[in-house]
Structures are given as structure tokens and as C-alpha cells.
Symmetry: C2
Subunit: 128 residues, 2 copies
């Protein structure tokens, strides 16, 4: 059994799931793997997300120490988000997800052009 602030987990996979088990968090992590980013950059990367939801998700990830937030006292404001060391350590999971997804598409879908998103992250972050 594992405990993280009062909360109980039956196994460590459940702990991991708790970190990114929603519609947005893994996307945020994926884009932050590429490089540290400002709020606006993230909201452009993940253009379907609303500002409100992005704010909430970033706060949740920060609370779990997956990302860090650095606010500069400037006008207009500047806030930079970055993965923490343990956040960066999620990379092998993403790599496996990347590989599995490719295989799955081979069997059950079709492949079109490579997107900028994938090209960039794959090139800079995945050590395959």
C-alpha cells in the first residue's frame, strides 16, 4: 500500500495514473518535454483547451510537483512552466505510449503526414 497525503493507493501504477489520468495533463507534459513554455505557448500548442481548464491543470500538476512555475514580475506578465526532475522522468512512459500508439494505428487506422507537434517532440525528447 502506498500513501500520498492521506490518499491510499493499492499499487504504484495507480499512483502514476493519478498524475495524468485526465483529458489534458499528459498533453501538457508532452509539450513541456519539448522545452519550458509560457502559458500562452501551451494554450496555443493545445488549442482545444480553454484558459480556465489550462490554469486548473497547471495548478494541479504543480501541486503534484510534476511541473514548476516561475512568474516574472513584469508587465505584461510572464510565467514559465517547466517539468521538474520527476516530471522529466515520465519520458519513458511517453516513449512506450508513442511506440504502442504507432503499432495500434498500423493495425487499426491510417497514417497521414507527420504533424509539427510530433516531429518536434520526437526529435528533441524521445530517445528511441
Amino acid at each position: 500500500m502506498y500513501y500520498i497525503n492521506e490518499k491510499e493507493y493499492k499499487c504504484s501504477v495507480a499512483v502514476t495514473l493519478d498524475v495524468f489520468n485526465d483529458r489534458w495533463k499528459l498533453a501538457i507534459i508532452w509539450y513541456l518535454l519539448e522545452k519550458d513554455k509560457r502559458f500562452k505557448e501551451l494554450s496555443e500548442d493545445i488549442h482545444e483547451i480553454t484558459q480556465k481548464t489550462l490554469t486548473i491543470k497547471l495548478k494541479e500538476l504543480e501541486e503534484k510537483n510534476i511541473i514548476s512555475r516561475q512568474a516574472f514580475l513584469e508587465i505584461p506578465p510572464r510565467v514559465v512552466y517547466a517539468l521538474t526532475p520527476i516530471g522529466k522522468a515520465l519520458r519513458p512512459i511517453l516513449e512506450e505510449m508513442y511506440l504502442w500508439g504507432k503499432n495500434y494505428v498500423k493495425e487499426h487506422g491510417t497514417i497521414g503526414e507527420m504533424t509539427a507537434c510530433e516531429a518536434s517532440v520526437v526529435k528533441k525528447c524521445l530517445k528511441l
Copy 2:
């Protein structure tokens, strides 16, 4: 770009996410890694899930070809769920999640006794 029945994905990680990005699916996969299971066994393994939700999630996983369903024409009914080959191929992802979760708990939580769940799956399924 990837396409799976009309749906568009910017990268293959998004494809993978789509498979288990909810509260229950990965738990189902986790328990099926151990061995093929009947409906009732799964609902005992994941005792927090309601029958209705389990039914829906199993159906969704079947539609995505992650698990297979075999119904025997017996009374009382018997239905056995098993991972398909591509479902079994999710194992490396789970392994990475297992490792990451352990590390995360080391830094941010406390570890208690090993649960039956974890012991069993780790022993039988993870090739670490």
C-alpha cells in the same frame, strides 16, 4: 496525422491516451494482465467500480480491440474477458508506470505493506 475510424490524432501518444484515459480502463487492463477473468472477478478486483460502469468500460475496450469477450452459453452465464495481442502489448507502458510510481512515492509519500494485487501482477506479468 493518424486516423482511426474518422477520428484524427496529432500524434500516436494521443492515440494511446484515447485507449485508457479514464478512471477505470487501465485498472481493467492491469488486472487482465494477471490472467483472463470473468466479469465477477473483475468487479471484485476493482471493488469500487459499479457493475454498470464496468459493463460500459469492458464494451469500450472490446470495441477498441484491447480485450476480447467470450460468452459461454451456460446457466448461470459465464463470460471471460482476455487481453488481445495488442492489449498485451500495453505491458511495457504499465511497467514504466509501475517504476515511475514507485519512485514518485519514494519522494512524495510513504510505503506500506505490499497488496495482493500488486504482488500478483508484478510476479506474473512484469518483466523487470
